[in-house]
C-alpha cells in the first residue's frame, strides 16, 4: 500500500480537490460548474465520512472519489487529496469548497498566480462583506491578532489567513501531502506558516465568494477558543525566522 509518492515531475496537470461532508445537494452542481469552466482540470471529491450518498452523486457527476472510512476534518481530507494528487502525477492542486461558495472563475486566477511563480496562492476576500460583522467583536479582534502574528513571522501581510480557497504548486504539494495539519484553524493558518518557513512564495489573490461569508464559520465559542489557544501555542513553539530570511534579497532558505 504505497502511499509515499515520489516528487511530482512532468507536464503540468491540475487537480481540484473538493473536501465534502454530506453535501449531496450541492456537490453535483459544483462539479459540473468546475468541469465546464475548467475542462483541463481533473476533479477529486474527498468524501470525509459522509453518511449520505455524496460519494455516489460526485462519481455520477464525473469526479474521482476518495472515500475516507471516517471523518478526519478538512485538514485530513485535504492531506488525503494532496496525497492522491502526488501519487497520480498532478503538478498543481486547488482546494474548492463543496457548497459552491468558491467561484470556478477564480480558480483560473489562483492557477495563474502559481504559474507566475507562487508556491501557494490564497484566494482572499480583501473586502470584508456584511456577514463578517455579525460575528462578535472579541472574535474579530482575536482573529485579527492571529493574522498579525502570522504577518510578523512571515514578513508578509496575509489578509485572509483562514481562507480555504487555495492553490498549491509542486513544492507545496510535495511537502503538504505529508504535513498538512489536521486540526481546525491549523489547516488554514498553520499551512501558511509551513509554506512560508520553507521559503516558498505565497501570493494572495482577491476573490469574491458567494453565500455565507467564509473565513469565520459559526463555530461554537468553546471550540474556537480551544483551537485558538492551541494555535497560539503551536505558533509559539514552532516560530521560526526562516520565512523572513528567505524574503530578504540574497536570503537563502
Amino acid at each position: 500500500m504505497d502511499i509515499v509518492g515520489t516528487p511530482v515531475a512532468g507536464p503540468a496537470r491540475t487537480l481540484a480537490i473538493i473536501p465534502a461532508l454530506n453535501e449531496r445537494e450541492c456537490i453535483g452542481a459544483v462539479i459540473e460548474h468546475l468541469r465546464d469552466s475548467l475542462p483541463e482540470v481533473d476533479v477529486v471529491v474527498v468524501d470525509d465520512g459522509s453518511t449520505d450518498d455524496t460519494a455516489a452523486v460526485a462519481a455520477a457527476a464525473g469526479a474521482r472519489v476518495v472515500q475516507l472510512p471516517f471523518n478526519l476534518g478538512v485538514g485530513g481530507a485535504l492531506r488525503a487529496g494532496l496525497k492522491f494528487a502526488r501519487r497520480n502525477g498532478y503538478t498543481h492542486a486547488v482546494q474548492v469548497d463543496a457548497d459552491g461558495q468558491h467561484d470556478p472563475s477564480h480558480v483560473r486566477q489562483l492557477l495563474d498566480a502559481l504559474d507566475a511563480g507562487a508556491a501557494l496562492a490564497v484566494g482572499s476576500r480583501f473586502v470584508r462583506d456584511a456577514g463578517d460583522y455579525e460575528v462578535g467583536l472579541v472574535r474579530r479582534l482575536a482573529m485579527r491578532l492571529l493574522s498579525w502574528l502570522v504577518a510578523i513571522l512571515l514578513g508578509q501581510r496575509i489578509e485572509d489567513t483562514t481562507s480555504g480557497f487555495r492553490a498549491f504548486g509542486p513544492e507545496a504539494i510535495e511537502m503538504l501531502a505529508d504535513r498538512y495539519p489536521r486540526d481546525y484553524l491549523s489547516d488554514t493558518v498553520e499551512t501558511l506558516l509551513l509554506v512560508g518557513y520553507r521559503g516558498l512564495p505565497i501570493v494572495e489573490v482577491p476573490v469574491q465568494m458567494h453565500g455565507r461569508a467564509g473565513g469565520l464559520p459559526s463555530a461554537r465559542n468553546a471550540r474556537l477558543a480551544y483551537h485558538y489557544v492551541r494555535m497560539v501555542l503551536v505558533i509559539g513553539a514552532t516560530a521560526s525566522l526562516n520565512a523572513r530570511r528567505a524574503r530578504r534579497p540574497g536570503g537563502a532558505r
Binding site: 500500500m1 472510512p69 471516517f70 492551541r230 501555542l233 513553539a237
Partner: protein, 151 residues
C-alpha cells in the same frame, strides 16, 4: 528564593522545554501538549509563589500542605487518564473501520485471483509483530497480538 523553590522552578522549566521540544518535532500533537501544560503550569505557580501552597491549604482547611499538592496532582492525573481512555476508544473504533475497509477492498479486488493474499501480508503490510520472542502463532484465526481484554 529558597533552594526548594529553585528546584521546583528548574524541574518545571525542564518539563516545559521538553514539552515544547516534542511539539516542535511533531512527536506530540498539540492537543496532548495542552493536556500536560496545566500540570506544568500548576507546578510552576506553586514553586514560584512563596507560601501559596500553605495559604491555599489553610483556606481550604487542609492541615498538611503537601497533601493539597498530592490531591491536585492525583486529580489532574486521573482526568488525563480518563481523557486517554476516551481517546483510545475512538482510535480503536477507527482502526476497526480501517481493518474492515482494507479487508473488504482486498476481497473485492482479488476476485480474479485464485489465492487470497497470505494472512500475514494483507495489502502489502507486514503482520503485526508478536510481542516477545515467540514465533508467529500458527493457529487459525489470524494474528493474536495481546490483550485478552479485547476478545
Amino acid at each position: 528564593m529558597s533552594s526548594a523553590q529553585l528546584a521546583g522552578l528548574g524541574v518545571t522549566a525542564i518539563c516545559l522545554v521538553f514539552l515544547i521540544g516534542l511539539l516542535r518535532r511533531g512527536h506530540l500533537r498539540a492537543k496532548y501538549v495542552m493536556v500536560w501544560m496545566p500540570v506544568s503550569l500548576a507546578m510552576l505557580v506553586f514553586s514560584v509563589v512563596p507560601g501559596l501552597l500553605d495559604d491555599v491549604s489553610l483556606w481550604i482547611g487542609i492541615a498538611y500542605p503537601p497533601a493539597l499538592l498530592f490531591m491536585l496532582a492525583i486529580a489532574l492525573l486521573l482526568l488525563i487518564c480518563m481523557h486517554f481512555s476516551w481517546e483510545l476508544s475512538r482510535v480503536e473504533e477507527r482502526l476497526r473501520l480501517l481493518a474492515e475497509a482494507i479487508a473488504i477492498r482486498d476481497a473485492e479486488h482479488d476476485r480474479s485471483t485464485a489465492m487470497p493474499p497470505h494472512r500475514h501480508e494483507v495489502a502489502g503490510l507486514a503482520a503485526v509483530p508478536p510481542a516477545g520472542m515467540h514465533p508467529p502463532s500458527s493457529t487459525p484465526g489470524g494474528v493474536r497480538d495481546g490483550s485478552w481484554l479485547d476478545a
